[in-house]
Symmetry: C2
DNA sequence: TCAAAAGTGTTATCCTTACACCCATGT
DNA sequence: ACATGGGTGTAAGGATAACACTTTTGA
C-alpha cells in the first residue's frame, strides 16, 4: 500500500505538528555562545522555535529563518538540519487534545556584529548548559566530583544491561567520561548527554517520570536545563559542529572578516572544548591555504603585533575537505 | 511565544503527515542491493514506507521496523535516521485536500539469509538507480557519454549563477563529475543527484514542472526513477553509508558471520563504488584488530584456499573510530 | 628590562601508498 | 604446468606531534 493511498483513507487519531528549533551558535572572547529566548513561565531557557505551516513557508529552512528573524533579529549564515526527534514523552504536552509534536532540530551559525550584541539578546555561554564538555584546561572538575560518583552507582545497578549500542553501562561510562586529554572524543556530546539523561542526572529526565530520575532530587544541577527537548537538540548541534569543523570551513562563519591566527585558534579551541598545540596549529592553518595574510597587523594583542588573515573563499572549489583537522597537535 | 502555547491557539490550515521511508541495503555477489516494493500503478519502484501515527508507535524507529516487517519481511539490523525532507512539490500529492507530507528518511542494513532471498523480494542492484556512481572499473561510460554533454549545456545557460553552496554551475560540475579515480569523492551521492535534478536530467524533475526538465524529454533515462522523493532518500543513504563505513564497523552488518578478506574487500568496493588496492586493504584490516581469524578455511575461492575471518565485536569498546579507512590504497 | 604573545626551525615517528614477490589450490 | 586467487616483505613519501628557539611589542 502506498503512502498516498493510505492517508486518504485513514488518518491517525492524534494530530501532528512539526516544530522547527534552531541551535544558533556564535563566539565571543574565547567563549562559544548559544542564542536563547527567555523562558517566561518556568524560567527555563528555550531555543528559538516555531511551528511549520506548509502554506506559509515553502521549505523548512525558509520557515526557520523567518522564525529566528522575528524572535531574535539575528542574521543567520550557515544553516544545517540536524535530526528529527519524534519520541512521545520527551516533548511536554499540555493536554491530551494537543497535537503530538515532532521536532526538527537545526544548527545555525552567526557572526556577532558588534561587542554589545554579545551582552544583549539571549546569548548565553554554551558551557553553562554543558559544563562537562569544556576540556580546554583538562578534564573539568564537575566530572570527577559530581558525575563520577553518581554514574558509578548507576553502573552498579545494572552492570550487565546492554544498550542499543551493544555496550554495557560500564563500557559506555568508560568510553564517554573516563578519557583524559588525548583520548577525549569531543564529538560525542549527544552520547554523553543521553547517558546522563538515562541515568536520571539531568533535570529534563524528571519530566519523563522515569524511575532513575529520583536520583537527581538531592543533587547539584548538572548545567542549566532547557525547556522541552531543547538541550538534546543543543547537544546534537555541538557534536555536529565539532565534527564538521574538521572537514568544512564552517568556523569562519563565527569569525570576523579579519582575524589573527591566535584568535582563530582560540575560537577553534572554544568550540571543540580541547586545547591545541600553538605551533602546529599555525603551521597547519598557514600551510592549508585556507586563509591568506592581508598585510595588515593587529595591535591589540598585548604583546608583539600579529598579522591579520582572512578566509580564502576559493578553497571551496579547490580542496575536497577544507576544514581544520584538529588532532592533538592542532 | 512558545511552541506549546502557539499551536493550541492557531493550527495550520493544511494537515501534516509524517512519512517514514527506509532505504534498506544488502549485499550479494559484489553487488549492493536496495529493497524496493513494486510500484503498482505507475510501474515505478518505491522504498518501503508508511505513515507515522504516534498512538500506534512510540518512536519513529519502532514504527519503521513495523512497516518494513509487514511490507517485506526483511529483518533489520542497523537503523539510522538520515534526513527530513519537507519541501512542497517534490512529494506528489493527489489533491488539494490531501495532507502535506514530510518524509523522514532512514538507512537500514540487512543480511541476506540465503542465496534465494537475493532473487525474491524486491532486492534490486542499487547501481541500476545510480549508474553514474559505480567507479569500480574507472569512471563509468554514462558520465562521459550522456551526462557530460547535457551538463555542459546546462552550465552554459547560466555560467555565473551561484547556488546555495556558493559555487557556480561550472564549479559544481567540475567538482562532482569531472574527477577521475583518485579525486572521485564517493560520498557526494546526494550532491550529484541534486545537480542532475536541478539540470532536469532525471525523470523525477518532470513532476516538479520545472522548466529545465524539458531537456529530458528526448534523453536516454539516467538510471531507474522512483516514486515520490525516494531516489533522493536513497542517494542520501548511499552517501551516508559510504561515509560511515570509514569510521564505524557497519559493513559487517552486510556480511555473513564468516568471510574471507577478499569477500570483505569486494563488499567494501561494492558499497564505496571505488577500486581498492588488495595488499594494503589486507594489511589495514588485519592490523586494525577489527576482525580475527577463525582457523577455518574457505575452499570456494577458485584458487588457493582463503582463511575465514569473523568480526570482533569487542572493538566497539576499544577503539574510538573502528571503521575501514578506505583511502586510495584501501 | 621584562613579561607577553607572535612567529620560525628541526626532528622523530607513524601512516599511507606503492611495488615486487612467493604460496597453495584446481584443472 | 599453469591459471587463479591468497598472502607477505619492504621501501619511499608525507603528515603528525613534539621539541627548542628567536622576534617584536607594551608597561
Amino acid at each position: 500500500m502506498s503512502l498516498a493511498e493510505k492517508h486518504s483513507s485513514s488518518r491517525p487519531g492524534l494530530p501532528l505538528a512539526i516544530g522547527l528549533t534552531a541551535a544558533i551558535v556564535a563566539a565571543h572572547d574565547d567563549e562559544p555562545l548559544i542564542l536563547t529566548v527567555p523562558g517566561s513561565p518556568d524560567a527555563l531557557a528555550s531555543l528559538p522555535s516555531g511551528e511549520f505551516d506548509p502554506l506559509r513557508h515553502r521549505t523548512f529552512e525558509i520557515a526557520l529563518r523567518d522564525f529566528v528573524a522575528r524572535q531574535t533579529g539575528a542574521p543567520l549564515g550557515y544553516v544545517e538540519q540536524l535530526y528529527t526527534f519524534g519520541d512521545r514523552g520527551r516533548h511536554a504536552r499540555l493536554g491530551d487534545r494537543d497535537p503530538h509534536i515532532v521536532s526538527v532540530g537545526y544548527l545555525a551559525l552567526t557572526r556577532l556584529v558588534d561587542e554589545r550584541s554579545a551582552r544583549i539578546g539571549g546569548y548565553r555561554p554554551w558551557y553553562s548548559f554543558f559544563p562537562w564538555e569544556d576540556h580546554r584546561e583538562g578534564r573539568p572538575e564537575i566530572i570527577e566530583k559530581t558525575i563520577f560518583p553518581e554514574l558509578r552507582k548507576w553502573v552498579e545497578e545494572a552492570p550487565n544491561e546492554f544498550s542499543s549500542s551493544g555496550l554495557t553501562r560500564g563500557e559506555r561510562f568508560n568510553l564517554l567520561f573516563k578519557p583524559q586529554a588525548r583520548d577525549f572524543n569531543e564529538e560525542n556530546v549527544l552520547e554523553r548527554y543521553e547517558l546522563l539523561y538515562e541515568a536520571g542526572l539531568v533535570e529534563e529526565a524528571l519530566r519523563d517520570g522515569r524511575e532513575a530520575a529520583k536520583r537527581r532530587k538531592n543533587l547539584a544541577p548538572l548545567g542549566l536545563a532547557m525547556r522541552h527537548d531543547h538541550r538534546r537538540i543543543m547537544a546534537t548541534a555541538m557534536g555536529r559542529l565539532r565534527a564538521k569543523m574538521k572537514y568544512r570551513p564552517v568556523i569562519f562563519e563565527l569569525m570576523p572578516a579579519l582575524f589573527t591566527l591566535t584568535e582563530l585558534q582560540r575560537t577553534v579551541e572554544a568550540i571543540s572544548g580541547r586545547h591545541l598545540h600553538k605551533q602546529n596549529f599555525r603551521r597547519l592553518v598557514e600551510g592549508s591555504a585556507i586563509v591568506e595574510p592581508t598585510g595588515e597587523m593587529s595591535l591589540n594583542t598585548g604583546g608583539r603585533p600579529a598579522a591579520l588573515f582572512r578566509f580564502r573563499r576559493e578553497v571551496l572549489q579547490e580542496r575536497p575537505a577544507p576544514g581544520l583537522r584538529v588532532g592533538v597537535g592542532g
